[in-house]
Symmetry: C2
Subunit: 397 residues, 2 copies
């Protein structure tokens, strides 16, 4: 077999074969004959496919005994040829008349591909809980394959992505250098009177120029930076209002290097912070430190959440939300991996090579505070933080 | 009734009431007692809701006889309070334990809300074909409402959005000024040796700084700018490689003002363009002009496509893809409205106030060319172009 020389592959051919082997073992354990993957991150992890084409139906078919098949819109097959490691015969594009049609659906073409490959009456895993596998897609595919048994394989691939390879960790370290630069730029530039969108323009500039040779890729979420009472709302995006004295603004951003993310959040106060913010800051830092201590191989996800919770509780701060999630490879609209949640009920055991955004955001009645760390679970000892910046409220008087 | 003064509302209270009336008429015509809307653009159009929270389950319930209800993650209710026009009692947040859980699903909470409101045994419209309504969401909701009749209401709201109000057209005109500035910036800055990501940083800068008081919002798609043979692939994103002499690069971007998009694409050739590109350019411009002439109220979507097709065919260029789609309000991952397609089989009649991205991209074997216009269908005469920039290949020798 000749190795297809896709010029953009971020990892070695052998790393893709290792991933495929892991995945096939998981498929066998789940009793699947075939797996259809629609999550763009999972598609990328398996094949290297990269492109902003996930707004139309596309996916990867993972077979037990032959190369995975990239399947998507005909015009995007050219993108597949330039980014995947598989051979030409493993790339299948569908006709443009299937796109956003009221009389045809791309899943009819996929069903034909599955039938042609001899899997029309087999057990087929599909990612039921994914942005890019709609209720309609599932209905059409199921109807077009009446003899197949459709099985929910949500997050089957995502779980395999949890422990990162050395090469993946190296990507995240580069993303960390990029986000450090952006955070430094924020603190340097934010001033009363500066318009929010102007600062966002500079943040995007830093994130995309990247650091030295390491060019910045687009993060899966845009910068979030609500101020004052608006910081009670975690997911407001910017407007053109000027920064004001006497308000805290959290900056929730991530560096991204070749689709690998390192999120990092800090809060800036312009002026003299009031006591309730200083009080929360102290409890949050103590909680973060306790959480990092608990973030060890062999401990559980809940141990991090509980360690964080104790100092917050002593300070009278009640958080209703999980305090983190796994990170790495991602596409919009989310940079989390959607497997583990750092919360009291999640007893997943931590393993070396797992990576999380330890994200205990405080979104209170009329203020908000974010001080977070992206972390790597090590063989021994507490977690390593990807970024190296002061763990505190940033104050500009 | 007091009018809730959400400070960020982009349109008047009365415009929202008009939209709601249109929508309720459409619901009645479709025999729906209740409509559950998950498309973030549809949510925004109905309620004003704005935030990057669509990576978790959320939606709007549209009732026949009371205010719509915003439903989403508890922590995002704070964002709803700051962006929607409805009263506090029409905002319902679900507990964080439903988020990305393996044992609970947010649709269980939605089913309870629907039952509480007395619609548990009614005809409920859902958007089966939407990024944010997963196959799992539909399965859980259907199971939790065994007495309801679930009806596919895909694009019911989208079709109501097709004809734009004066206020919406004004948003798009502002977005047009923003994208013109970005295109000017591209032509000024692109040079052999400039790294692609560095130019993208400047493009984001122009798009987000905006024009004067009009701050730039995030476009629903990142800039696409493949060069040379890579321009055969429409949806590749950037890398850190330098621009080179002798290659065409298309720039597919949009200005965005308060979620309203005006896309605009031009192609830059560095050096002297070869004959086949000049030949394609001439045919494409002729096709665009013919399409604009055909883009009149009373004509059909296919008339534009056919007018474009004739000169291309004479030049020996075969396009397999549709040549445009409706535009306006949008969220990632797509800035199209997913209703009409400008193609030979779409006989939708054009109406004044409809807006399209007339987008006859040429993605050939080993080169690509994009020259496009965002257009407004007028009462009389050919379409108006939102942007005012030369309709040609941009050449920098």
């Amino acid at each position: 077999m000749t190795i297809h020389a896709a010029p953009r592959l971020p990892f070695s051919y052998f790393e893709y074969q290792e991933r495929l082997e892991k995945l096939r073992n998981a498929m066998e354990a789940a009793g699947l004959d075939l797996l259809f993957v629609t999550d763009p991150s999972n598609m990328h992890w398996i094949t290297g496919y990269d492109g902003w084409s996930f707004y139309v139906h596309q996916g990867v078919l993972v077979f037990p005994d032959r190369e995975p098949m990239w399947w998507g819109r005909g015009q995007d097959a050219n993108g597949a040829r330039r980014t995947v490691w598989m051979e030409e015969e493993s790339i299948r594009g569908y006709d443009d008349r299937f796109v956003q049609s009221t009389t045809r659906h791309p899943m009819q073409d996929l069903a034909a591909a599955i039938t042609d490959a001899g899997f029309g009456a087999k057990r087929i895993g599909v990612e039921m809980e994914n942005y890019y596998y709609s209720a309609r897609a599932h209905a059409v595919l199921s109807e077009a394959l009446p003899d197949a048994r459709m099985v929910d394989a949500t997050a089957l691939v995502n779980w395999k992505r949890g422990v990162k390879s050395e090469a993946e960790i190296s990507m995240m370290r580069r993303a960390a250098r990029i986000v450090e630069k952006a955070v430094d730029g924020i603190f340097e530039r934010v001033e009363p009177g500066v318009r929010k969108n102007h600062l966002v323009a500079e943040i995007f500039g830093d994130l995309i120029r990247g650091e030295g040779e390491d060019w910045g890729d687009y993060p899966a979420i845009v910068p979030l930076l609500p101020s004052g009472p608006d910081a009670a709302a975690p997911h407001l995006t910017w407007d053109g209002a000027p920064f004001q004295i006497g308000a805290a603004t959290f900056f929730e951003i991530a560096g991204c290097y070749r689709r690998y993310h390192t999120p990092f959040c800090r809060t800036v106060f312009l002026g003299k912070p009031p006591d309730h913010i200083r009080h929360a800051e102290a409890a949050l830092i103590e909680g973060l430190e306790a959480g990092l201590e608990a973030a060890r191989a062999g401990n559980r996800a809940c141990d991090i959440a509980n360690a964080l919770g104790a100092p917050l509780e002593r300070a009278g701060i009640t958080r209703g939300q999980r305090c983190g999630y796994p990170i790495g490879l991602s596409y919009p609209p989310d940079w989390g991996e959607r497997t583990i949640s750092l919360r009291a009920e999640d007893e997943t055991v931590l393993e070396p090579g797992m990576t999380f955004h330890f994200m205990p955001g405080l979104w209170m009645e009329d203020w908000g505070l974010e001080i977070t760390e992206s972390i790597l679970i090590r063989e021994d000892g507490p977690a390593e933080c990807f970024c190296d910046r002061p763990r505190r409220l940033y104050v500009k008087e």
